[in-house]
C-alpha cells in the first residue's frame, strides 16, 4: 500500500491494513518533525513531491522489499504540505512472519526512500526564515 496524503497520518489504520494471521512481527516506523536540529529551532516543515514519480518510486520500493524479504504486509505513506511539530511526515509498516525480516525491511525502506523518492523538505525555522533541504551526500549518479 502506497499513499501520498496531505492529511495527518493515522498509524493504526496503516497497521490494520498490514495485519494478517501470517504475521508474527509488525514494525511501524514514523519520521516525525523534530523541534531542534543542531541547536536550531524548527517551526514546521513543508514537503513537496514530484507526485507521479514519487508514487511510482514508492511502489518500486515496496516491490523490491517484498522480493528481498518474506513479507505479508507492507505500506509506505508520505505526507505532503505542512507538517507541524511532533507529527509524522512518513510512516512505514512492514509485517512479516519473523522479526528479523521486519526490522531489516523497515530500515532498508526508510533509508532507500530518503535516497530515491523525489520528495523535498522545506525547513521553516522558528526565526522566520525557511530553506529547502538538499543533502550534500546525494549520490550524483543514477540510483539502480
Amino acid at each position: 500500500m502506497i499513499q501520498l496524503t496531505s492529511e495527518k497520518i493515522e498509524p493504526e489504520k496503516i497497521i490494520a491494513e498490514c495485519l494478517s494471521s501470517a504475521a508474527g512481527a509488525v514494525l511501524l516506523f514514523l519520521g516525525t518533525t523534530r523541534q531542534f536540529t543542531a541547536g536550531r529551532e524548527t517551526s514546521f516543515l513543508r514537503y513537496e513531491a514530484y507526485e507521479s514519480m514519487a508514487s511510482s518510486e514508492m511502489t518500486k520500493l515496496e516491490a523490491e522489499a517484498r522480493r528481498r524479504w518474506s513479507l505479508c504486509g507492507c505500506a509506505i505513506v508520505h505526507r505532503l504540505g505542512e507538517v507541524p511539530l511532533g507529527e509524522a511526515s512518513v510512516a512505514i509498516v512492514v509485517a512479516s512472519p519473523h522479526r528479523s525480516a521486519a526490522f531489516a525491511a523497515g530500515e532498508w525502506l526508510i533509508n532507500t526512500l530518503k535516497e530515491r523518492v523525489p520528495i523535498w523538505k522545506e525547513e521553516h525555522w522558528a526565526d522566520g526564515t525557511c530553506e529547502w533541504i538538499h543533502p550534500d551526500n546525494a549520490p550524483g549518479t543514477v540510483v539502480e
Partner: protein
C-alpha cells in the same frame, strides 16, 4: 532540440516557475541537458551538477537520449522522509 523540464523545490522557487524550456545541443542527452541548465542558470549550477534527471518519471543516466521523452524532470537532491 528544445526540452521542457519540470522543476521542484529550490529550482522551482529560484526560477519562479514549475518548468523551463531549454535548448539542448546534439546529441540531446540527459548529460547535455545538465550542462545546458547549469550554463543558462548559473545560480543553480552547483545544485544541478549533483542532481539526477528523470525521463517519464524514471531516473535516467547522463548518456540516455531525450528524443523520445514525454516528460523530463530535474530531481535536485531529495530530502523526504
Amino acid at each position: 532540440m528544445k526540452v521542457t523540464v519540470k522543476l521542484f523545490a529550490t529550482a522551482r522557487e529560484t526560477l519562479g516557475t514549475n518548468e523551463i524550456e531549454i535548448a539542448v545541443t546534439d546529441p540531446a542527452t540527459v548529460g547535455a541537458l545538465r550542462v545546458a541548465i547549469a550554463e543558462r542558470y548559473p545560480q543553480l549550477s552547483s545544485l544541478v551538477e549533483r542532481s539526477l534527471f528523470a525521463i517519464d518519471a524514471n531516473y535516467a543516466r547522463d548518456e540516455d537520449p531525450l528524443a523520445d521523452a514525454t516528460e523530463v524532470a530535474c530531481i535536485l537532491p531529495v530530502s523526504g522522509g
